[in-house]
């Protein structure tokens, strides 16, 4: 499936996906708000511009792999997948419910289109590196993308994976780091400081790009550039605003692991639909 979206269309899509996320979380009654909203632009870029994939053939051998190491942000992935045609939009409201294919954290065996299960931070990074290595062994040409989070950098396993990928110069590997500066207990730099982050990856022999993760064009350009980096894996540090799009959620770490309630969801959806008041006459 290769429809050519304009930037404006992609921005509209990202906004729609944000609304999907709010509705899903409200219906589920639990789940993570900040990360998914912050990453809506990244996932829109991936599913609608960057990835080589076929929603009707989720196991297509030549597809680009999209790994998700920070599994808790999966609601935004589900929304992007539904919008892309992997499964009906109506299935989104089954998030976290009994017998749903849309498990609270991605369950590989339940939903075609996922590359692996995740949730425990740091694990997906090794799996992604393993997949990239497999491609090299098999002489395959696809890319392996992996979305990870900043809090996750505190897990030792993550650096084991980074060290390994640097050694093997896995140039088919592109990590996208959601640098939103928050984690459960507060701001990352207060909980367990990560900076200087760029220099850390460079020290491990990765190529590093830093972008505004809420700017679709920058996300797309960075991903396309990463594909051309020849001697190293690439880490795209994507600075995002947690809760992006909903003003009372933005930059507040308390929204990391909480869903909106009825009232909050209504407010959030209104904001998203009217582009923060830019569109008048929206009726509920």
């Amino acid at each position: 499936m290769k429809k050519n979206y304009t930037l404006k269309q992609l921005e509209r899509l990202a906004n729609t996906i944000r609304q999907d996320v709010i509705k899903m979380l409200l219906e589920a009654g639990s789940g993570h708000s900040a990360g998914p909203l912050g990453l809506a632009d990244v996932f829109t870029a991936l599913y609608f511009k960057v990835l080589k994939h076929n929603p009707k053939k989720p196991n297509w051998e030549q597809r680009d792999r999209l790994c998700l190491s920070c599994g808790h942000v999966v609601p935004v992935r589900y929304a992007a997948m539904a919008r892309a045609g992997y499964f009906p939009l109506s299935e989104l409201k089954t998030l976290r419910k009994l017998n749903s294919r849309l498990q609270g954290h991605p369950s590989y065996l339940d939903l075609p289109g996922l590359e692996h299960s995740s949730g425990p931070l740091g694990q997906g990074s090794s799996v992604a590196v393993g997949k990239a290595l497999a491609a090299k062994i098999n002489g395959q040409k696809h890319y392996v993308f992996c979305v990870c989070s900043d809090g996750e950098q505190q897990e030792g396993q993550f650096w084991e994976a980074v060290m390994f990928a640097g050694k093997h110069q896995l140039n088919n590997l592109v990590f996208i780091l959601d640098r939103n500066n928050i984690q459960i207990d507060g701001y990352t730099e207060e909980v367990m400081p990560l900076e200087p982050l760029k220099e850390k990856y460079e020290a491990f022999n990765w190529h590093v790009l830093e972008i505004d993760g809420n700017n679709l064009e920058q996300v797309i350009d960075a991903c396309q550039y990463a594909k051309t980096v020849y001697e190293k894996p690439t880490m795209i540090i994507a600075h995002t605003i947690p809760g992006k799009g909903v003003d009372f959620m933005e930059s507040d770490f308390k929204w990391h692991g909480n869903p909106p309630n009825e009232k909050q969801a209504r407010k959030a959806l209104h904001e998203l639909r009217t582009l923060r008041g830019q569109i008048v006459g929206e009726h509920e």
Partner: protein
């Protein structure tokens, strides 16, 4: 009556002694020849885990990960999800010890075709001491859904178990010992995942063992015969899925059971057998193993003797139960 496939001169002084881990190493090479999709990962223990043979023969399929067992398990899962058969080796204390959570989710929850080889299992590891003696690994692995747990009894069986693991679709844990131990089975001895083998038939008491201690159980049975005590010895190499039928049938016949393993008494073979019997055929039982203690430095046989993991102690426990 001893299983006819066992070594003819079972208790001879010149019985060959080969480390179980050698069987694994040779099994890897043979499995690697059969399937070009087989890859082997190692965490800085290439020689010790006998992965050297595979590395020399198939260097492009050998992956050195350094001292990073958690990454090793994740890499193995990633490779397996892309169609590889991924074996990963380290000492049992680290693999599944250190990377248990990665095995839980990246391997088992994904049903990834990964084989975890836990080396240096048991107290007979010797002088390295407690930190390197894997005594809890059976407990750690058998509680995981989708995991198959194999504990080969000798070098021959280890090779078969490795090949069987390679053929099997899904996560497998292979428990491997360090020291030279008696080779008492032959090529003809049956090995089927999930099937416990009766190595000696008897009617007075059932002795169930796994790993090199199966030989100690046979030695004990041999001595007991001299006192007209007829023990049935079962080689329970598959802890999971455990062969309920063989265990229940045997204990229905004998009415008493002793288990022995180079593992804590909590959570290993003994516990698995107790789970079966308490629910299907409760009989008087004794679980022999490490008595909820860490190991220590010493010579392998010294340590086994100190903690009563030998035929002499088995005989004592048999007589206790038969009182």
């Amino acid at each position: 009556m001893y299983n006819s496939s066992l070594l003819k001169n079972l208790f001879g002084k010149n019985i060959k002694q080969i480390p179980i881990r050698n069987g694994y190493g040779e099994g890897l090479v043979e499995a690697g020849k059969k399937d070009s999709n087989l890859v082997v990962l190692c965490a800085d223990l290439t020689d010790s885990t006998r992965s050297r043979g595979f590395k020399d023969k198939f260097p492009q399929r050998f992956i050195e990960v350094g001292v990073a067992e958690q990454n090793m398990a994740g890499l193995a899962a990633g490779l397996a999800l892309e169609g590889k058969i991924a074996f990963c080796s380290s000492y049992a204390v680290f693999n599944p010890g250190r990377n248990w959570e990665q095995i839980r989710i990246s391997v088992c929850y994904n049903q990834a075709n990964v084989k975890i080889a836990g080396h240096h299992a048991g107290i007979s590891v010797g002088p390295d001491g407690a930190t390197h003696q894997g005594l809890e690994d059976i407990a750690l692995t058998r509680c995981l859904p989708n995991m198959t747990v194999l504990v080969p009894g000798d070098y021959m069986e280890a090779k078969k178990a490795t090949l069987a693991a390679a053929k099997f679709k899904g996560p497998v844990y292979l428990r491997l010992a360090r020291e030279k131990t008696p080779v008492f089975t032959s090529l003809k001895t049956n090995f089927k995942i999930g099937k416990a083998e009766i190595f000696k038939t008897g009617k007075d008491i059932t002795i169930i063992a796994c790993g090199p201690l199966v030989y100690e159980a046979l030695k004990a049975a041999n001595e007991l015969e001299k006192e007209k005590l007829d023990a049935e010895v079962i080689n329970c190499h598959t802890i999971k899925p455990i062969d309920k039928k063989t265990i229940i049938d045997s204990t229905k016949k004998t009415g008493k059971v002793i288990t022995i393993e180079e593992h804590q008494v909590h959570g290993g073979l003994g516990s698995a057998v107790a789970e079966v019997l308490s629910q299907n055929n409760p009989v008087p039982m004794k679980i022999m193993g490490m008595p909820d203690k860490f190991g220590e430095s010493g010579q392998p046989q010294e340590l086994l003797d100190k903690y009563g993991l030998n035929s002499v102690q088995i005989i004592k426990e048999v007589k206790n139960l038969l009182k």
